[in-house]
């Protein structure tokens, strides 16, 4: 059994995760029930940043990767960043019609 995060850290992380999920939903303008428009870039950036931070918190606290070596932390954070970069690239390519 490794060094665990502890109740306080878990509760803070959960509150952050819940808060960022609500921030993402608000940023994505879910109130636009009839007028479904393309999101402004700041809004897209906020959704992606919130997603990246949430993934980081789940890896470090829920999965307790903070107890691992920097190399393993780098592998998992790197893979998460790669995933977000691919999602962002696809989104931006579609938005700016890069693929014709």
């Amino acid at each position: 059994m490794t060094d665990l995060p502890g109740t306080r850290r878990l509760l803070i992380t959960w509150a952050i995760l819940m808060g960022l999920t609500v921030v993402s939903m608000i940023s994505a303008r879910l109130d636009q029930t009839t007028d479904w428009q393309t999101l402004p870039l700041w809004s897209v950036s906020l959704v992606l940043l919130a997603t990246g931070f949430k993934a980081h918190r789940v890896l470090m606290v829920y999965l307790n990767l903070r107890a691992a070596t920097p190399a393993w932390k780098g592998v998992f954070i790197g893979l998460t960043l790669l995933t977000l970069a691919l999602i962002s690239a696809g989104y931006l390519a579609g938005r700016f019609n890069v693929m014709g």
Binding site: L10, T13, L63
Partner: protein, 188 residues
Amino acid sequence: MHRDLPNPGWGPLSALPGNPLMWVLILSEMLVFTAFFALYAGQRALDPALFNASQQQLDPLLGGLNTLLLLTSGLCVAFAVEAISVGHTQRTRQWLGAAMLLGALFCAVKFIEYSDKFAAGLTPETNAFFGFYYGLTAFHFAHVVFGLMLLGLVSWRTSNENVETAAAFWHMVDLIWILLYPLIYLLR
């Protein structure tokens, strides 16, 4: 130095907390989902108008509700790990039970979503977006169901290692949904 490692004798994996084989599974699952997400992003880039119009047929509030359910379920599982680490077996089972209840609610919400879409005639064959929507969410859903079975199993065979291993799988299911939710439901 070796005595500080969580899993001595596992080579490069010895520095990871919990069961090293679960980390191999987590890494491979993340790679598979990353590949699917990249495929989705590529297809979306080819026809953003179709993807945006199709995405409008989804209910992002239900997707958000499911995110909140899974994240809270993850907290319960983390508390179960804390409880078993100090030998509180009964408390561990209670937390695992709470986590499973929330996981079951996630499944119920997903079932409602699928039923609504099918009732509206939106199937995996409707277009590329719905092919991805059903493919990605059903693949994730299968992981949720397997995770629920794992949590049930370790509620019965409750030990430090079993609970920690099942918890790691459940958190991986959380992690994938965190990435999937904005991709499918929010970004437009």
